[in-house]
């Protein structure tokens, strides 16, 4: 199957899109960027391929299974158990690394104590994972690092208390081990994980008679070969990839084109990513006519929210929902990541509610974006908001209010897949410019070239 690939190497996450020659999205992949862009690129691309296969599998199952609801249920179980297989493979690797670290210690008695503790922790982690990767469950994060840290630390805290072990020492083992695990790609074992997912799904009550259908559909999706016609890289880390110059595009152009593809009437785009904010004006073809982005200071970008979440001991996904419970927006003067931390503590000290402070923080962040939008030429109809921060409901609420106050009524578009906008634009550029030298690129080889 011919396809084009777009890869967006963001500072926080790396995204990939597989697209057909008639511009249909085959699949999407995302991973955390870690400190290795080449690996992140490889993982995101593999994840997009996996997602493409799952979409083909869904189409196949839906076409052969007469009951649509039943096909959807099968798909949900297959996907969840596939993710479970991927997760468990990483848990195994993490456990091996942890035991390896303990083995380096000089005192054998201490080694035994901590080995036993690790056995208990990892046994609990596997149980938690089996409960978590089920259709009805929703994870706070898609990334192994976040899920594993949450599960590991929860068990480690209980074990440290009950067995007089050092919690800090257990945390230290994890911190070292996760780096090694994150340095490997666990998204390449599609066939093994699918085998596991199939076996788990066909053994479930209600699917006994569906064994043949599931086997046939999964085999079909597994055997599809993707013939990559061209690949384009974009994003914050694009310079680190050994792509030829003509296969790298600025993320500003990619976001403009991606937003145009999702919402063709788009004329102004705001993208708030991890490290930068971009205000982009596009014409009716999706070609950028003007843009403004923040200078070297990344105040008011996604990382700012991450820092605030750390300050409040919360997950970054929890900030928006909490801010929506505000009764007023406390005035926050700075979107500087450093000053905002101090201001946050000061507001808490004078008795302001966390919800109200967070509403003020989101407003301050959007105010900064409004200034960039004004500098780029204002907000024209329609207005599309992209990037990871577009998932934050408090940010979109503040944006809607400020747009209305300053520009009047504008149609604001926010796609649930807005985080993929840059990768989508890159895939479209890959299709438009077919001079690709990266045809059927083996991304695993890029790592060696980069290092």
């Amino acid at each position: 199957m011919d396809c084009y690939v777009g890869i967006d190497l963001g500072s926080t996450t790396t995204k990939s899109i597989y697209m057909t020659p008639d511009e249909k999205i085959l699949g999407r992949g995302i991973t955390n960027s870690r400190s290795n862009y080449a690996l992140a690129c490889e993982v995101a691309s593999d994840e997009a391929e996996i997602n493409s296969r799952f979409n083909l599998l869904r189409d196949r199952l839906t076409s052969v299974e007469r009951e649509r609801d039943n096909a959807e249920k099968m798909m949900n179980w297959l996907e969840c158990r596939f993710r479970l297989a991927q997760h468990l493979a990483q848990v195994d690797a993490l456990e091996e690394e942890c035991h390896g670290i303990v083995k380096e210690w000089p005192d054998e008695a201490v080694q035994c104590e901590y080995d036993a503790a690790l056995d208990t922790i990892f046994s609990a982690m596997r149980e938690q994972a089996r409960r978590m990767f089920q259709p009805a469950e929703t994870a706070r994060s898609d990334f192994f690092r976040d899920i594993a840290a949450s599960h590991y630390l929860e068990s480690a805290e209980a074990i440290a208390q009950n067995n007089s072990l050092s919690f800090d020492r257990l945390t230290g083992i994890y911190d070292r081990a996760i780096l090694a695990v994150e340095g490997k790609n666990f998204s390449s074992g599609y066939h093994e994980c699918l085998e596991f997912a199939c076996a788990e799904t066909v053994s479930r009550a209600g699917f006994e008679g569906k064994r043949g259908i599931i086997r046939e559909a999964t085999q079909y999706a597994a055997e599809v070969e993707f013939n990559v016609l061209n690949t384009i890289g974009t994003g914050y880390g694009r310079q680190t990839l050994p792509f030829p110059k003509h296969q790298i595009r600025s993320e500003i152009l990619c976001h403009g084109l991606g937003a145009h593809f999702m919402f063709p009437e788009t004329r102004t785009v705001l993208d708030i990513g991890g490290q930068d904010t971009k205000a982009i004006q596009v014409d009716e073809q999706g070609i950028v006519t003007n843009f403004q982005m923040n200078d070297r200071c990344a105040a008011g970008c996604g990382r700012y929210l991450g820092y605030i979440a750390d300050e409040m001991s919360m997950g970054v996904h929890e900030l928006g929902p909490l801010a929506l419970k505000a009764r007023k927006a406390v005035r926050i003067n700075s979107t500087c990541t450093v000053f905002a931390g101090a201001e946050l503590r000061e507001r808490l000290a004078v008795g302001e509610r966390r919800e109200d402070i967070l509403a003020g923080l989101h407003r301050a962040m959007i105010l900064r974006a409004m200034s960039l939008l004004a500098r780029s030429g204002g907000i024209r109809d329609q207005f599309t908001f992209t990037g990871g921060v577009a998932k934050n409901q408090a940010a979109t609420l503040a944006l809607g209010r400020l747009v209305n106050e300053n520009y009047g009524e504008r149609k604001i578009n926010i796609s649930p897949d807005s985080i993929y906008t840059g990768a989508l634009g890159a895939a479209l550029f890959a299709k438009r410019d077919q001079r690709g030298d990266l045809v059927n690129v083996d991304l695993s080889k890029l790592k060696k070239q980069v290092s």
């Binding site: 600025s250 500003i252 152009l253 070609i287 003007n290 982005m293 070297r296």
Partner: protein
Amino acid sequence: MFYDEGAVVVSSSYAKVGGLYDTGFRHDPNRPLETLAEYCMGCYTNMNLPQRIEYLERSINEFEADGFLINSIKSCNSFSAGQLLILRELESRTGRAGGFIESDLVDPRYFSAANIKNRLESYFQMVEAKRQG
């Protein structure tokens, strides 16, 4: 960064801080103080915004530039004031793409090579995309 992108600067307003000799101005040895005053009044940073816009528009058209780039200098108010307004007006008058970067002449804290590179690359790609239509 310009060289990497195959871009050439054909004209610059910065060189006109020292006077607009290209428009025909010359010092007159018979009227030294008067022409010195005229020189000072006529140099780029002493022009008002409409005069600057007209001068830049003429330059862009004369040199048949594909676009124009504005470098906002944080510590030079006389040069940087009104630049966004100038940018908008020039874009609408000439139809050429305007770019905007921010840095400083002397203070390295205001300079970020990666940020400038990103903006310049985006700008040149935007000019190219516009050119291809």
